[in-house]
């Protein structure tokens, strides 16, 4: 079973409106690379010019923030779910 990546609404503009992308990967970093090679526009919204994950975008493996695991190097297993969660600010 591959790994599922959940795409949040604001970023679906860069994935042809797809909300879930399935990839095969060994680490979270590989999975995101596989995703952004499919949807190249997405990359600049996730990573800054230095190649670091943008600080208003968090990536979770299942329900854990990868910043508190091994970041990009975090191992993934079949059936895992990666969530991309950008900050949103609307309220009025």
């Amino acid at each position: 079973m591959p790994i599922r990546i959940l795409i949040p609404t604001p970023l679906r503009a860069y994935t042809n409106k797809v909300d879930t992308v399935e990839v095969k990967a060994a680490t979270v970093g590989d999975a995101i690379t596989a995703l952004t090679s499919q949807f190249s526009e997405l990359r600049k919204h996730l990573y800054n010019d230095e190649g670091r994950l943008r600080s208003f975008v968090n990536v979770y493996l299942n329900d854990e923030d990868i910043r508190f695991l091994q970041k990009d190097q975090t191992q993934v297993n079949d059936g895992d779910v990666i969530s991309i969660v950008p900050s949103i600010a609307g309220g009025r």
Binding site: P8, T9, P10, A13, D19, H45, R54, S55, F56, N58, Y60, D63, E64, D65, R67, F68, S83, V85, P86, S87, I88, A89, G90, G91, R92
Partner: protein, 394 residues
């Protein structure tokens, strides 16, 4: 700046409920998790609502109805017609009135036994600590990144829990920040997005029910915090996807290196949040573009005299259906792959709703080698104001 209406400030602690209050809150009182003790806690509680808009509406209504003893309402804005689709505290007759005042009147009629304090002002680094200091729980129902970071930092500095909710189109996020031992907003999102990358509700739209649902979840969290019952959303981020009708939950951890609540904080007083978020001025102005503007009146003049102008509408198809000036529709996001539809030898006038997206489009086309490109200043909204008053505005 604070105006009080409703019940007088309670001195010292409210000891008892009146017979009318016992009747009013009877459905609370018969639950052991609330009971008389819990209802008196609610009556003694002071909650500050920052923002009385989409999230603030259900928050205000339910917290007032629940008998929260003092509700502070912070809003600088006035009610307009576009608010009524979701800001259910207001009626059509409130259009043009101050939101804080209209909200306080509505809530006072709902529950005359509570105290309502209105703050008709922007929350700023200068007034935030003074404003938040008198309250037990802070609720973030604002709509922009600078104010969200300000609310977070002020609540952390004062040690007040901050019940956070935010929305975008069909998505919601809720958490409780700044509680003892729990993470704060900056632990989760150390920095805001650069201006322009995340559209606001005014640009991106919002389904009216969404802030209702998210604001209700915030209201529930406020009441749980006051009563001390249940598991509040401390260290948890609740994600709500209204289209899929799914709730998910993610773990949030306190970041030991957090600049505000970490072990060695570097933010020890409130800063300039507008600067922190990279926005100069209140509304982000149209992005700098080298494409010159054309005023709606001038465009009308030139079209009337038969100039060969190609009108490029870079809005979305559903916006085109609301109103249009007969332009060729290519949504901004599709422009790169559809640029070949345009003839660079013709003079092009780009327009959108208010002029911001078309400025981006003009800049993109200029970089792509187009030389004769104009940006309709103020977009179709300005066209409606200056040229065609019969055109609907949205």
């Amino acid at each position: 700046m604070a105006t009080k209406i409703g019940a007088a400030p309670q001195t010292p602690a409210p000891a008892l409920l009146s017979n009318e209050e016992i009747l009013r809150y009877s459905r609370h009182l018969i639950m052991p998790e609330v009971g008389m003790e819990g209802q008196l806690k609610l009556k003694a509680a002071k909650v500050l609502l920052i923002g009385t808009g989409g999230l603030g509406a259900p928050l205000g209504l339910y917290l007032a109805a629940a008998g929260v003893g003092r509700l502070g309402l912070v809003d600088f804005d006035t009610v307009d017609f576009t608010n009524l689709q979701r800001q259910v505290m207001f009626g059509t007759s409130d259009v043009g009135r101050l939101k804080s005042v209209a909200a306080a009147e509505r809530l006072a009629s709902l529950n005359p036994d509570i105290e309502l304090v209105t703050y008709d002002t922007h929350l700023t680094s200068e007034n935030a600590l003074e404003l938040l200091r008198d309250y037990d729980v802070v609720v973030d129902g604002t709509d922009n990144f600078p104010t969200r970071y300000l609310v977070n930092d002020a609540s952390v500095l004062l040690g007040k829990p901050n019940v956070y909710g935010s929305i975008f189109r069909f998505d919601g996020q809720v958490s409780v920040f700044g509680a003892p031992g729990g993470p704060c907003y900056r632990c989760v999102y150390p920095e805001p997005p650069p201006p322009g990358l995340v559209p606001s509700c005014a640009e991106g739209g919002v389904l009216g029910v969404l802030p209702g649902i998210v604001g209700c979840i915030q209201a529930m969290e406020v009441i749980k915090l006051i009563l001390g019952v249940g598991d509040p959303l401390i260290g948890r981020l609740l994600l709500f996807d209204a289209l899929g009708m799914k709730f998910r939950e993610l773990k949030l951890r306190k970041n030991p290196d957090c600049p505000v609540c970490g072990t060695h904080p570097t933010v020890t007083k409130l800063i300039d949040y507008v600067e922190f978020c990279g926005i100069r001025g209140e509304e982000a102005p149209a992005q700098q573009t080298s494409a010159p503007d054309i005023a709606p009146s001038e465009l009308k003049l030139r079209l009337d005299r038969g100039d060969d102008l190609y009108i490029l509408d870079v809005r979305e198809p559903h916006e085109y259906q609301i109103c249009n000036i007969g332009g060729h529709l290519i949504p901004l996001g599709d422009l790169p792959k559809r640029v070949s539809e345009l003839d660079s030898s013709r003079e092009i006038v780009a327009h959108c709703r208010s002029g911001k997206r078309s400025a981006e489009a003009a800049e993109f086309l200029r970089k792509a080698g187009f030389r004769k490109i104009l940006n309709l200043k103020g977009g179709i909204l300005a066209w409606a104001d200056e040229v065609d008053p019969s055109m609907p505005k949205y």
